[in-house]
Subunit: 404 residues, 2 copies
């Protein structure tokens, strides 16, 4: 894995070197190519505020590392030598995203331009199976996706796996617990067939939030992304960066005590948010039998048909979510709140009561109702975020790419 | 104000320069002098991993800017020229901290070694007085403190004012609201007598948290500091940096809906934390008449005398605080929780019930009872944090100091 390493600590304690400067300047030039592509070397120098000679040296390195391509000379309207257009490489470096869910596996490959080039998804009942078997299946799907990418001229430089569980902050990313798969203390390298392609695990809510941040047109730099699958998770993007907490447990919104004397929760607490806004609780309150396939689709279908108990259950869920989000806004002072995952698909019925609670209770700080919005990516976010993680790392530090 | 500017955005978008490198290396060398003082140039080079020549040039600049002093030559046990010991300057650059409370004004001056050299405090009923009059009094106290510092050979390079209110993130730091003083939308420069000494305002809870972080022996890098004065405030230190939120409102713990159907709160919400753990609520529940001078001392005195209603009121406050802190731990995943301000003085009676709630409700994440502790600084934290802010800025960027 060429582009690895999680939660890297910025080395503010050591002296700065010429190498640090060059790395930073490579990133600045690559960012400018991405923003202005196609662009000539001369125009690029103007954009970044470095000399033409400095930019040319940096561009040459970016080309040799496969991040940038240079088209054949084209005539321009200007006096002098015609410019050769620089652009982000559509072949070469790419990021692989993987996802293991309760009932599916998925893989995708994204190129340096951020374009999705490969997307595969298979239904698979993973809950309760041994982690090693599930990971073998995921590795097989990953290999297929990499082969497909390779046929497109792409070279996977990093691999990230989205999981509905908690991943520790330690290097290597121990998977602490995945409640709905029945995993505890799983180290991917112990099970992955090929030691050269072991992915880095990450919590799916975190990756969904990052995907939202990286793909939104005018993103909030500080927002909380709440998503629901079988459980409820939140991810915090603060000043443009994912905040994972001391141990990787940040964003455990599902066990906020929204009604302290409420019903017992499986976690050992009482009146936790999941007892009101979790999938199982909403289905129970709506009087619906959990279906085998897609409970979210069932809830949306019943709510769309104005089924009164379903509407009441979603209203109750929204009010509880509004209480938890009131505390979240008070504590974090975010620019926005995003409802992702299953909540994005149920937003029509959740948003009114969530907004009512926020309006009544967020009083010290100014709060605009439309600061709460559903995610545009919905359930696709985590897989996309997994693949984009590698792309963003390369953009921030092009020397992660092998020299040509 | 030589060392100004709040919430500076790190310029990751521009190219790196030799000037950036030198600034960073000056900070590394100054940090090493602080850590190893007294220290020779040769030993310093070893500590920071730069050449002796590079270190000498950096040291010369630090001396000319007044940050470092060099003792006369002393004989060492080593072969060769005797080393001259470098140390942090005990004269020269310093930071001024100011504080405006409901019933007092205070000022202090801290030198580059972090030592408090001047400390002044006067009782003054500030609530309800016009902001301009209070600020004139604060400016007079600041001038006295600066004169005293000047007599000690110190030169104040930056001024920060601690306030029990919300300060916006915008440059210049508009004071949005100070509920218990009756201020709203106050810009200090409009009232401060001397335009050259206008302080930068900051929320007192934030400064208390930073003081805790900067002075603790082995600090948590990610912790939440909860403090109570007339209201309840929290401050978030995340990865070693104060997190202020999008608008400066982060940490508004006082209006967490701990019992959503509880009593009405003055904020417009219901069942807010302040209705259970705020000073007025605890006094009321304890059946005590709010005293003129020091309600916290009264509560501590009654609790120490085993006054049953006071003990019950503090137990109830601790339980409510435990609910709010459960949500805080779930969301932030901090390394520690610190009870500061008045809570530090009431910790003996609050801690048991706060810990009981945390133990019962923080279940997904491992939680150790002693991760919750009272602040060692107590009510002195905010003023100290205000003065240390300037010292820390100089340590991070010595070029903020005027060249000699």
């Amino acid at each position: 894995m060429a582009v690895g390493g999680r939660a890297s600590v910025s080395a503010t304690s050591g002296p700065a070197s010429l190498q640090d400067m060059r790395r930073q300047n490579l990133a600045v030039v690559l960012g400018a190519v991405a923003a202005h592509s196609p662009v000539s070397r001369a125009d690029l120098a103007g954009h970044v505020g470095l000399t033409r000679a400095a930019v040319s040296s940096l561009v040459d390195e970016l080309i040799s590392r496969g991040a940038v391509t240079e088209a054949a000379a084209t005539a321009s309207g200007r006096v002098g030598r015609p410019g050769r257009a620089l652009a982000m490489s559509s072949e070469g470096p790419a990021g692989l995203g993987l996802e293991i869910g309760v009932a599916h596996l998925a893989a995708c490959v994204v190129d340096l331009r951020g374009d999705t080039r490969v997307w595969r998804r298979v239904e698979r009942a993973n809950a309760g199976r041994p982690a090693g078997r599930v990971l073998e299946d995921a590795a097989a799907l990953a290999a297929e996706a990499e082969a497909e990418a390779s046929a497109l001229g792409l070279r996977v430089e990093g691999r990230v796996l989205a999981l509905p569980g908690v991943v520790s902050n330690e290097p290597g990313g121990l998977v602490e617990i995945v409640p709905n798969l029945g995993w505890r203390g799983v180290r991917l390298a112990d099970h992955w067939p090929d030691p050269d392609t072991v992915p880095e695990p990450e919590n799916e809510a975190n990756l969904g939030a990052l995907a939202e941040y990286w793909t939104a047109g005018r993103p909030s730099a500080t927002f909380v992304h709440v998503s629901a699958a079988a459980g409820i998770g939140a991810a915090l993007v603060l000043d443009g960066r994912l905040f994972r907490g001391t141990r990787g447990f940040a964003g455990e919104l599902g066990h906020f005590p929204v009604h302290p004397d409420g019903p017992d929760c499986a976690c050992g607490g009482r009146g936790c948010l999941e007892q009101y806004a979790g999938e199982a609780a909403v289905l129970r309150e709506a009087g619906l039998t959990p279906p085998g396939a897609d409970p979210v689709a069932l809830l949306a279908e019943r709510a769309g048909a104005a089924h009164a108990p379903t509407l009441a259950a979603l209203d109750r869920a929204g009010r509880a979510l509004g209480l938890a989000l009131t505390a979240t806004v008070d504590l974090i002072d975010p620019d926005g709140l995003v409802l992702g995952g299953a909540y994005a698909e149920l937003a029509d019925w959740l948003l009114p009561s969530v907004r009512a609670e926020l309006a009544a209770r967020v009083t010290v700080r100014p709060w605009a109702p439309d600061a709460l919005r559903p995610s545009a990516l919905g359930r696709r976010g985590p897989l996309l975020g997994a693949a984009l993680t590698t792309v963003r790392r390369i953009m921030a530090n092009p020397t992660l790419l092998p020299a040509g």
